[in-house]
């Protein structure tokens, strides 16, 4: 498909930096034919919980890439999903708009709305369930610990040298801001690096800083910050995916400094292990969120999730997953702990 996508007018300001860059790059050898591709992902879930089976229509994710010139490219990700508050019961959300300028070899500068590359999962899987090794994202995403998106400017280097070193530096509007304006004069800042000493092995670490006001909503949750917070996140990842073994271990330490309880430190970690036999991948995952009782931003109670599952990859665009999971969640304050077991099924495709 070529050039069939028309951008909504109210987002057209986001194209300005790309247009300016395009005009300024006098060293463009010649304009190439524009190559635009549209791909998509969608999934359907079923869950057995509390003796009731629920069928759930998942997100429809449209993914667009376009090579505008020798050095400038575009990537957009738009999700259509259920929303109870919408008159039509469905919402459209812009998950990523990234304009990339490749200024030297494997070094790029990117403008737009990014998935904050604080850890492997958020930088790798995004919204395509076909790629997820499990049915759901780790709990640390549901609990708002990972700042999912950042609108801003990103410097990126990939696969540098024999160790395939990579870096990301991202300055953005921050968690409490929106895609149009920043809520305060302080910018969020993220710096991360990774390296791949072997083909299937990747190690990474990142640092994230943000100033978040009281009342700010945590990403993709209904949770709100209970105090003004100066946040620091320090994350580490180890991933290894070969033709048989799959390991993914990630951990994030958060320090949410505030005037009331000081600088409580919380930890969120999960580990995934899978073994591939032909098209089948049985797997296990365990996750523990060790939340500090003095926490004023996230929940101040620990959370647990562990599961065992089976993934069947029909082909590279079709995946079936079946999981049995045990979950213990606990909202902030005196809210009761919620414990439940569930059997979940997912049918995910790409197109």
């Amino acid at each position: 498909m070529r050039n069939q996508y028309i951008w909504p007018g109210r987002k057209s300001w986001l194209l300005c930096p790309a247009i300016v860059l395009f005009c300024l790059t006098g060293f463009q050898k010649k304009a190439q034919a524009q190559e635009t591709q549209i791909r998509g992902f969608v999934h359907f879930d079923a869950a057995l919980r509390d003796d009731k089976v629920n069928f759930t229509l998942g997100e429809q994710d449209l993914f667009i890439t376009s090579q505008l010139s020798d050095r400038i490219s575009f990537l957009g990700e738009t999700v259509f999903k259920y929303s109870a508050s919408s008159p039509t019961k469905f919402d459209i959300s812009i998950e990523r708009i990234v304009m990339k300028y490749n200024y030297y070899r494997n070094h790029n500068v990117l403008f737009g709305k990014h998935h904050t590359p604080v850890n492997f999962w958020n930088d790798t899987y995004h919204h395509g369930r076909v790629f997820f090794p499990t049915i759901f994202r780790p709990m640390m995403f549901d609990q708002g610990i990972i700042p999912l998106h950042t609108t801003g400017i990103r410097l990126q280097g990939q696969n540098l040298g024999d160790m395939r070193f990579g870096y990301d530096i991202l300055v953005g509007n921050g968690v409490a801001s929106d895609d149009l304006t920043d809520n305060n004069s302080s910018k969020s800042f993220m710096a991360g690096f990774s390296f791949r000493p072997a083909d299937k092995l990747k190690l990474g670490a990142s640092y994230y800083y943000d100033e978040i006001p009281k009342g700010a909503t945590l990403h993709h949750t209904s949770l709100k910050s209970r105090k003004n917070v100066t946040q620091q996140l320090i994350s580490g990842s180890l991933s290894y995916f070969d033709n048989n073994f799959e390991y993914l271990i990630e951990s994030t330490m958060s320090i949410n400094k505030n005037d009331s309880t000081g600088s409580p430190i919380s930890y969120a970690s999960y580990g995934y292990f899978g073994y591939r036999y032909k098209k089948f991948v049985p797997y296990v995952k365990g996750e523990y969120l060790d939340m500090n009782a003095k926490e004023v931003y996230f929940s101040n109670h620990p959370q647990i999730n562990y599961l065992v599952g089976l993934r069947y990859e029909v082909n590279y665009l079709t995946v079936l997953k079946l999981e049995y999971a045990h979950t213990e969640t606990h909202a902030s304050g005196s809210a009761p702990k919620v414990k439940y077991n569930s059997v979940n099924f997912q049918f995910a495709i790409g197109f």
Binding site: D51, T65, R71, N102, R105, T124, N243, N315, V343
Partner: protein, 153 residues
Amino acid sequence: MHQDMKKLQYLTTLLVLFVSMLTMSFKDDDVALAVVANEKGAPAALTMKFLKSVVQGDKQRWPDGTKISLAFLKTNTPVGNATAKKLMGMNGDQFNKYWLALVFQGKANAPAFFNTTQELEAYVSTTPGAVGIIDGNQSTKLRSISVDDKKSF
């Protein structure tokens, strides 16, 4: 008891879904491969290590600064399947998924996949920086690139 039966029925249905969607895997052919390139971009000789890093999308540009454009035969062809196996240690599905994921992450531009060698050669001949993998036993008018001092591998 009734609830247990319902759970069992539900689980059985899901398992049947899994088993019923089995598909055939592709035949694994051992094919000699060769590298062809546009006049601009790729050096005349590559090491296998360098070629692998190009094929897996680690590099965006050739040493002379030309943007790398990858051209493969589709993985449902013997040469395409052999490309995935010899250069990436993957089957066709894994190779396709690897590349789809890389593009989805915004970390590489999608390779061009072709049904026939003629289509691939036409693309490589007209695209500066393009490099393609073809059948090593087939003659070509394009510039051949040696890999570890061999014309095919």
